[in-house]
């Protein structure tokens, strides 16, 4: 949302055979969405810094042998982008199936059933079953906070909560520990959420969480709905110089 300055250049590129112009510095994902071209994402959220973790927004760029994350790749002059192909579809399905196999996403008994971005993504990508064996790991549930809950079973490690906590609320209570499949969201120095001295209790993390991992307590199956509209507004207000 930065103001257009004299250094901003106009760029023309092709996305899915459509000639498009945009400003320099814009990412493929931003430009695609501005032009009603849908690229699936889970970790991206407008108003937060780019994470590039979920890899669902991978696109093909002509003359490049590898795939590129649309959220983290700036448009360049003359670039030719393809946002969907049999190869991309196959990888996207595989990624979401692996998310389902990695932890315990039991949609039928989840508070976010019917309002979950992971569940919706599976439907959108026509995933009717998971080809990988489920791991069924035993995961922690942090129930120590007065009115919020972290259920690691349902976390996909998109780190939206970590970013909103650090970047928007400015508390940086949340972070990620560990590596690979052992990664997990923590509070402060891996302490119970309810004991955190830095958490302001604002609840932004709950609202940006795409699944039922972060929820309000006292919600039953399907009752947890999230609101993310506040984010672009808060980000814009921070940039306005009075």
């Amino acid at each position: 949302m930065s103001a257009v300055t004299s250094t901003t250049q106009s760029i023309t590129l092709t996305i899915d055979d459509k000639a498009i112009s945009c400003r320099s510095g814009e990412t493929i994902l931003q430009v695609a969405r501005e032009n009603n071209i849908d690229i699936p994402t889970l970790c991206y959220l407008e108003g937060l810094t780019v994470w590039g973790g979920c890899r669902l927004c991978m696109v093909e760029i002509a003359a490049s042998p590898k795939l590129h994350a649309a959220c983290a790749t700036e448009c360049t002059e003359g670039m030719t982008v393809r946002t969907t192909s049999p190869r991309l579809k196959q990888y996207r399905k595989m990624i979401v199936e692996m998310l389902f196999a990695e932890r315990n996403h039991v949609c039928s008994v989840c508070v976010s059933n019917g309002h979950c971005e992971l569940q919706n993504m599976a439907t959108k990508l026509e995933i009717d079953h998971v080809r990988f064996p489920y791991r069924f790991p035993r995961m922690e549930v942090d129930n120590s906070h007065d009115y919020m809950r972290l259920d690691q079973n349902r976390c996909i490690l998109c780190a939206r909560c970590v970013r909103v906590c650090g970047e928007i609320e400015g508390a940086h209570t949340k972070d990620v520990k560990g590596r690979g499949v052992l990664s997990a969201i923590i509070h402060d120095l891996d302490e119970p959420w309810g004991d955190s001295q830095t958490c302001t209790g604002c609840g932004k993390c709950v609202n940006v969480c795409p699944t039922g991992a972060l929820t309000h307590r006292g919600t039953a199956v399907g009752e947890m709905t999230k609101k993310t509209e506040f984010l672009p507004y808060l980000t814009l207000m921070r940039e306005v110089k009075l």
Partner: protein, 192 residues
């Protein structure tokens, strides 16, 4: 009556099986309501929790399987189903993902048994009594993990949902009877 008998022999045959599930998928099948009468005119239901024959038939055109594979008996049934069915449909989230029955997989079987039969007993059993209490004989033994159907047999079509709506079951069955392989994800999803 003769004409009915002749027609019966040429009609497609259907079986439905209830493994480790809550029967909700079969309830959803019952929710076809008056369409059940239409269905009865289109197919022969040879085997199901809602019809009499106890043995799985020699040959079935399409079998709908509800439930996860939890016990050795479930595994045996799954293998019989596969061997005797031309087309197997995993019906509902338990058969497709493991769902609620697979939530026991986070714990070891003996811990589960202790929780259910020992810790919650009014008087703690002795080690000898414990052996007698645990469901290790007579009832089919639990497998180490409850798994989706496709982890033990080949599945031809997946119809997720908890439960899959009656309209989704109707869509899948009628598409199948029309000789098409339906896209189940156009009518159902994981969870509700």
């Amino acid at each position: 009556m003769t004409t009915t008998t002749t027609a019966t022999t040429t009609r497609p045959t259907v079986a439905t099986v209830w493994l480790d599930g809550c029967s909700g998928c079969h309830m959803s099948l019952m929710d076809l309501d008056e369409r059940l009468i239409t269905l009865a005119g289109l197919v022969d239901i040879l085997h199901s929790p809602v019809v009499d024959p106890k043995e799985f038939p020699q040959s079935v055109d399409v079998t709908l399987v509800e439930g996860a594979v939890s016990s050795e008996e479930d595994l045996h049934k799954a293998n019989v189903i596969r061997a005797h069915s031309k087309f197997v449909i995993a019906l509902g989230d338990c058969a497709v993902t493991g769902n609620v029955p697979a939530m026991r997989n986070y714990w070891d079987r003996s811990d589960l048994f202790d929780r259910a039969y020992v810790e919650n007993a009014q008087e703690p059993p002795t080690a000898e009594e414990r052996k007698a209490i645990l469901p290790l004989t007579v009832v089919p033994p639990l497998r180490p993990r409850a798994t989706p159907l496709h982890e033990v047999i080949k599945v031809d079509l997946y119809l997720p949902g908890c439960p899959p709506p009656a309209d989704a079951i109707w869509f899948v069955l009628t598409e199948f009877l029309a000789g098409r392989v339906p896209n189940a994800m156009s009518v159902s999803r994981f969870g509700k």
